[in-house]
Symmetry: C2
């Protein structure tokens, strides 16, 4: 147990006081003491109870001050009016951490919120780490530390397992514990954080990241309160080789009601959680069952080394189903070598030998085939992982023991491989295979699905952490007044995002001069006005204008806009060359209440407007992350040169995305939204060019 | 038991002979007799065994001819060499149905296939319905009819349940039986069809459709051999009010390697199975777990009457999770009336009252709230379905009984409603709730997912069968030679699919005359040549040509094509008016080896080429089905008028799709593929127009 972690006093204290400890071991206030006794806690235990000298057989104290020795941890299991006094006493006594079950705080409204702020301040100033209030407590079964009244321990202490669990909801966390127990992946340390006055889910992840015996961390979250704490915690887990798997429920609509840009209206906070989890390598589970299955797959003492998987079956149907699942979840059923395929068909003439390897029902008469197949697949063919579908063979009265011996021996011969079985087997048989080192699934589809998740987790743990991003020395300032397209592009260009070459003209003559200076044969003219957001719709854009007609076009443009928007103040027109072919994309930044500046990317046209085919990343991020982002949209093939067009300059696009993210992170709080629409991605080698841009300062009202 | 169904002799015979019946009740050939005895079969049982006078206590006969009375059913559990003789004897005896376990037929190669054809013919000619060979048999537990050696019955006879099951794979079917037993949805009748020499999955569905006690039918399929039999069977199930839920594994690539049209390359046979299942109302399950969960949800004695669902919880987190699931699966959590919401907050001040109704932990102190909530939601608010999340309350030593009484009473008060619980409970507790009429799920997400599937099933059962489609009297003939665009469009126009007005010109002068006759200001010219499939790519299309330049444009077009495709025979050019705005779509037909002519629909451009955003239906189908089809593509919003454009004429599009399907069905076998690309969908009221079309006759080689 790591005693140097800031949460050590909470999760592995040497002495424990229980406020309100009841002599009745069935009552909420009596259960924790009972659990401590049953779990064999070795530290000092001090029941605090003014009415009894002995509580559940243990000497009690009328108050905390009367406890003779030091007290590292206090459990506060009293009603709200007494809870504050208890916390005060804890501070006085030098207690370093506390769990508070008590309800009646922030969850009840404004008054409760104020009360919660009081206890949070009291704890902070008194140097007490506080878990709760309004929580079900926690347990660390490795030490028998059980300050919880949850029903999980009612049937007696469980064996501490390799799974760590952190949950905001106590009720839901109890549900997850029940699922994990039934699935046979034991939980060693469990933390319910309740109202999170101080300790958050992130803190629990951080502690579990350091716990040597924890192999994976499962979380249930309703909201993340402190992004930086969360990011630091999951990075710690990654550095320590522990997958983090999380359910995040809910998905409330984005705050801004009347959004001037696409960016804001395209995001839902749930999509941003999705993006952030991907970005920091958190495996997101959709359902409680999924969470527990993935946690099970990640607590087998090893992870699959790559996506390559051998499938062995005694039923063709199961093989086809697993092949379907492999395709769906991106698992690589690499075919066996021709020599190995020939060997399989020598064993079983009608076998499928490619992968899946279907031995048909032959192993029922000749179980040694299972052994030979393991040697062929894990040995000579070098598969890092295998899933074997054995139907009910493991339960067979005649063959069960033989099959067990063969598989246990194979697991001993290949201790670094991931061996999974899809079998129907009673719990005690399943446990025996697990003890031998195999992962046991019932459903073959589920087996592949869970292994795919474990493969993703392993890939993330193996991926080097992203390089830190240099923030340019002289980032352009962001004025607090409303700024136009021209200035927006100049600011973004200074941040490293190339814009189309352009000149501002305020008269026909200047337009003519600008056209000559740009030297392009065909030009685009766009009206410049702080009062106009959507230029095209009011005739504020002229395209494909010959150089010789620049002056006349300027007059036409100003007249057209003047007719349709007579109140608009017109600053002039932007003259730029027509850039020729390219793919229009949209880059945006908006401010998420949890994650801060978030960058959006999508393809222009129908992709964004009809399909909402966009993806997000939390700023800042590097070029590799930007590449992953680009690859996530459904229309990504278009950038690779689909439809007979040349491939786009994806390098330049990724760089622009990364630079935008760096700029946005550096300017966080000083803008409401940024949108580059379109950013033209030109053919490979020709770079990108922002054709239009909009920056709304934080203080400006939407147009 | 329905004795008039053609499969009655197979599934509910009055007399049974067992070839190769062994005295050893543990052997494959001994198990069926043992199962018959244990299951209490009431008909006549005749073991056939030349070596014993009595088998497992029952008088045996040396051969079938020696059996005194009539024999309706025979089980053939002998090796391949003896199996033919047994079948011959069965025919001689007047047996009407048989199960053949025997392996060594079509699954072993060409020789086995020939042997299988022999037994199939023998059975057909002898009037014997044959299940197998190479199958695990079947059982009908309602009659104790158990001609199977599967391990499911090894632990003794199961109670016959409301689920019917048909499976091609015996091994996989055994797996499904084990899952169903564990889930507590009993199987009454189970059929494994093996090699399907005669009896197919469809026949099993048909029998189960007529079985009064079967509430739902679960299937496992690897391939459908006879489309018409399958369609007739699932329609029979629908007419009899029984949901059909199926796993179909596999998804082999489409046959045609070098496909000239998009249509062929866009389809995978798995997508077509998907479409066909949707079309005939089969609920497709992806995984064995899903199959069993949906089957469980559909065998509760009733189905949810609509998508409206009330969610009640004692944990906020579970409520949010279920709301997420409801959105994902299209379940309608309609908000409570304001009066009802006010009532809920009178009961529990901090409750969520909208829907989900989160009563917080208050019912733990005040269980009667559960009762009040059921009355409010099912009674006054009239929800047809409810799911209540009660965590571990059902297992609580103190509250469990009270909670059970309240819910059982509610189920009695609302016998027509669908009541589901999401609870953690031991099997015996779960069974008790089920007996009271509630569906019990552990995982709250899973509860909503399975109920959504049951809702879909209920909707399909309630939907009237599609009206038959009139086939036009004088469908145009389809020549067997290769035909060009012009003729293809004329043929399709005769089938009711409007084409753009156009004229064929074979000289500049004819082009001029055609332009004048069409009377349009701007024209399109397209080369006509039987040797050119992709006109645009070799300069064979001119757009937006002014009427006055028609003759010159003709010359330009012919010259351009001549330069790039000198060998092509040129028939002339098609002249048509430019039609103005519209949305380009693709309609295609290809021939699927299982389903016959299949119609494809997608939007043109990036939707098809980059996103492969297409959908399918088996021909023929009506306009309503075409509408559903149109609504399935991701880009459907474009047709509704997204991006500020007028809505397209979806009525005309749906009609064109339906007409194309009727034409394709009538011409099945006479074409290799049909493609209309693009079909321009013009603004509402203006109809559609085929701008280009390609029909490949069945005999023509691809271009």
């Amino acid at each position: 147990m790591n005693q140097s972690h800031p949460l050590a006093p909470l999760l592995s204290p040497r002495s424990v006081a229980i406020f309100g400890a009841s002599n009745d071991p069935g009552r909420i206030s009596g259960r924790p003491l009972r659990y401590y006794k049953e779990a064999g806690y070795q530290g000092a235990l001090y029941p605090i109870n003014p009415n009894r000298a002995v509580v559940q057989g243990i000497p009690a104290y009328p108050d905390l001050d009367s406890v003779p020795g030091p007290v590292e941890f206090a459990l506060i299991a009293v009603a709200a009016p007494q809870a504050l006094a208890a916390l005060e006493a804890a501070v006085r006594k030098g207690v370093r951490a506390a769990v508070m079950f008590t309800a009646g705080f922030a969850e009840t409204g404004a008054e409760g919120r104020a009360l919660q702020q009081r206890i949070a301040a009291m704890a902070r100033e008194g140097g007490v780490r506080l878990c709760g209030p309004n929580c079900l407590g926690l347990f660390n079964l490795r030490l028998g530390h059980t300050p919880t009244f949850g029903s999980y321990l009612e049937a007696g202490p469980e064996q501490p397992g390799p799974l760590g669990m952190v949950t905001q909801s106590g009720a839901f966390g109890t549900h997850l514990l029940a699922l994990a127990r039934r699935r046979g992946t034991g939980v060693g340390i469990w933390i319910s954080t309740g109202n999170e006055a101080d300790v958050q889910v992130a803190d629990g992840i951080s502690f579990l990241a350091d716990d040597r015996e924890t192999q994976a961390i499962a979380c249930y979250m309703e909201a993340i309160k402190d992004r930086d704490r969360f990011v630091a915690a999951v990075e710690r887990a990654r550095n320590n080789g522990k997958p983090v798997i999380a359910i995040k429920v809910g998905g409330s609509a984005v705050g801004a009601a009347a959004a001037v840009s696409h960016t804001a209206s395209l995001a839902g906070s749930d999509q941003i959680y999705d993006a952030a989890f991907r970005q920091w390598g958190v495996e997101r589970a959709r359902t409680p069952e999924d969470l527990i299955e993935i946690a099970y797959a990640c607590t087998r003492g090893r992870l699959p080394r790559s996506r390559r998987l051998a499938v062995m079956t005694i039923s063709g149907g199961a093989g086809v189903l697993m092949a379907d699942a492999a395709e769906r979840f991106g698992v690589d059923l690499a075919p066996l070598s021709p020599a190995a395929q020939a060997e399989v068909t020598r064993w079983v003439p009608f076998a499928a030998a490619r992968n899946p390897v279907d031995l048909t029902a032959t192993p029922i008469n000749e179980p040694a085939l299972i052994d030979k197949a393991f040697d062929l697949l894990l040995g000579r063919e070098g598969f890092p992982s295998i899933v074997a579908y054995l139907l009910a063979l493991a339960e067979s009265p005649t063959l069960g023991e033989t099959v067990y011996e063969l598989i246990a021996a194979a697991a001993r011969r290949y201790p670094d491989r991931y061996i999974a079985l899809s079998v129907i087997a009673r719990d005690e048989i399943r446990r025996r295979y697990e003890a031998a080192g195999a992962a046991v699934f019932e459903d073959p589809w589920r087996a592949v699905e869970a292994m795919a998740a474990a493969m993703r987790c392993a890939e993330r743990l193996a991926a080097p952490p992203a390089a830190p991003l240099p923030v340019p020395d002289a980032l352009p300032p962001l004025p607090s007044r409303r700024i136009g397209e021209y200035e927006a592009k100049r600011i973004l260009a200074a941040a490293g995002i190339a814009a189309v070459a352009e000149r501002l003209a305020t008269s026909p003559r200047e337009a003519e001069a600008a056209a000559a200076a740009l030297g392009a044969e065909r030009l685009a003219l766009k009206i410049v006005s702080p009062d106009i957001a959507h230029k095209t719709e009011i005739g504020g854009v002229l395209l494909d204008v010959p150089q010789s007609e620049a002056a006349a076009a300027y007059d036409r443009l100003v007249a057209a806009v003047g007719a349709r928007a007579p109140q608009a103040h017109i600053d002039g027109a932007l003259i730029s060359p027509m850039l020729g072919e390219g793919i229009e994309t949209i880059l945006g930044v908006q401010h998420d209440p949890v994650w801060g500046p978030v960058v959006l990317f999508g393809l222009g046209g129908v992709f964004v407007e009809v399909l909402r085919d966009v993806t997000f990343r939390v700023a800042p991020f590097g070029i590799e992350e930007a590449r992953r982002m680009i690859g996530e949209i459904r229309g990504a093939a278009l950038l690779q040169g689909a439809r007979g067009r040349p491939p786009g300059d994806v390098d330049a696009l990724a760089e622009a995305l990364s630079r935008l993210s760096v700029f946005a992170a550096a300017q966080a709080g000083r803008f409401a939204s940024i949108e580059i629409n379109p950013l033209l991605v030109r053919p490979e080698g020709l770079g990108v060019a922002a054709l239009d841009a909009l920056i709304l300062p934080a203080t400006a009202a939407p147009l």
